[in-house]
Amino acid sequence: MSPVRFGLTLRRLKEQLIEDFGENEEVCLIGIQPRGTILMKHILQLIDTEKVKFKIFEGHLDITFYRDDFRRREKMLMPDYNKMDFLIEGRDVVLIDDVLYTGRTIQAALNALQHYGRPATIKLMTLIDRRFNRHLPIQCDYKGMEVDAVDNAYVQVNWGAAKDHQVLLFDSKPEK
């Protein structure tokens, strides 16, 4: 994805948010830790530069304790920080993550969100949608781009300085 296209995609996602929620009074943007939060921050930066009427609640949601693969992995699941200092009761929520793959992360996030109240609606925004790799019936409402890859492939979004963002496609998950 070229830097220009990357920037345009982020702008489009922002515009779609404003189009859908511009007339609302408030919306909760919740980034899934850690990588969803990064995308959320980039979108928020774009929103801040314009005059929007709705109030934004910004949440950072860590879903480690809600994952369905806890105790089924070799490696330890290390939690990230969680910052949710508002309730989502009766509000519109947009969950944000970088890559939508199997859908299990989103399922965990939906479970985690139950602990903060009963929202009016929950929508999902992801930068990358790997539409043929889903394990669960979960779809996203706002997507940056679609990547069609085999199951073992790994898509990584690298957030660099201003215009150095990259989307990388690997044959398999790279060793850290």
Binding site: F65, Y66, R72, M76, H115
Partner: protein, 311 residues
């Protein structure tokens, strides 16, 4: 048995785990402290784990704290206390525990008046064991929550002076605290009447004070312990009144110091004996924070020991 994320499958004592283990537990406890301050204080992490709390000795705080930690992690909890059980009918420890385990229990939290019980169990049964206090040996989760509370107050252990006051000889909290704080880099001292200070402490590199005032001048944190009358078969001190007079920590003593010492106590407090009420309830004391942190630290221990299970 479940594979733990710590270097050991069990938490038998601080002596057996590494500095990295302790740091991992404290770091994970941060996350759980955030969880227990949420409107809904529960996460589904251990929903497929069954934990038995076997308390062969009286306990209020530790038992409630473990039970709360387990429930907040959504584990299934089974409570057992020796009073009113078949232990009174002459059943052996191993038989009792094996019977409970045959009902498919994954983890066991055990407290017993005999030192080494958790270690004995770990050699004979197939479950992760957490020591919730064994005789005068160790009480690892108490030491971890004490360390967590100190870390919250001071951020670092390097060069920190912590003094443990009171009945060191009969205290499992003292031994676990010494191991834990030393592994984290703090300097540890003890203070108490000579009859209640064990002889081997020099080998552990622990400083010994016999006068409270000197010890208070040396330390940044004072962890005050209870006189364990139930573990004393002979008289170690002439009277509680004399102990309170010479070894009790009271307001005038603290006011005579040039600095503010942080006061800790693992509970239950004998008010007016080792600690005066106005000290225990003052802003210097972090006793209630210790209790709150206890749940978060125990959640972290259970979470890390639960680790991954081969399906």
């Amino acid at each position: 048995m479940i594979n733990s994320y710590l270097s050991q499958p069990h938490l038998l004592g601080i002596k057996y785990i590494t500095k990295e283990d302790i740091e991992l537990i404290l770091q994970t406890a941060d996350n759980f402290k955030e969880v227990i301050n949420r409107p809904i204080k529960k996460v589904p992490t251990l929903r497929d784990v069954t934990i038995a709390n076997l308390f062969f000795e009286n306990s209020t705080r530790t038992k409630i704290s473990f039970e709360l930690a387990e429930k907040r992690l959504s584990a299934d909890v089974l409570n057992f206390s020796s009073g009113g059980s078949s232990v009174k009918k002459g059943e052996s420890l191993l038989d009792t525990v094996n019977n409970i385990l045959s009902m498919k229990v994954d983890m066991v939290v055990v407290r017993h008046s005999i030192a080494g019980t958790p270690s004995f169990l770990s050699q004979h049964i197939d479950a992760n064991i957490v020591n919730a206090g064994d005789g005068t040996h160790e009480h690892p989760t108490q030491a971890l929550l004490d360390a967590y509370s100190i870390r919250e107050k001071f951020n670092s252990f390097q060069g920190l002076h912590v003094c443990i006051f009171g009945d060191i000889a009969h205290s499992r909290v003292a031994l676990s605290n010494i191991f834990c704080l030393q592994k984290l880099g703090a300097k540890v001292a003890v203070c108490g009447p000579p009859t209640l200070i064990p002889k081997f402490l020099d080998d552990l590199g622990v400083k010994v004070f016999y006068r409270v005032k000197e010890a208070l001048e040396w330390c940044d944190v004072a962890n005050v312990l209870r006189i364990q009358l139930e573990r004393q078969d002979v008289k170690y001190i002439p009277s509680l009144r004399e102990y309170a007079l010479y070894y009790g920590i009271h307001r005038e003593l603290l006011d005579s110091l040039k600095k503010e010492v942080v006061i800790m106590h693992p509970g239950p407090i004998n008010r007016g004996v080792e600690l005066d009420s106005d000290v225990a309830d003052s802003s210097q004391s972090i006793i209630l924070e210790q209790v709150e942190n206890g749940v978060a630290v125990r959640m972290a221990v259970l979470y890390l020991l639960a680790g991954n299970s081969p399906m």
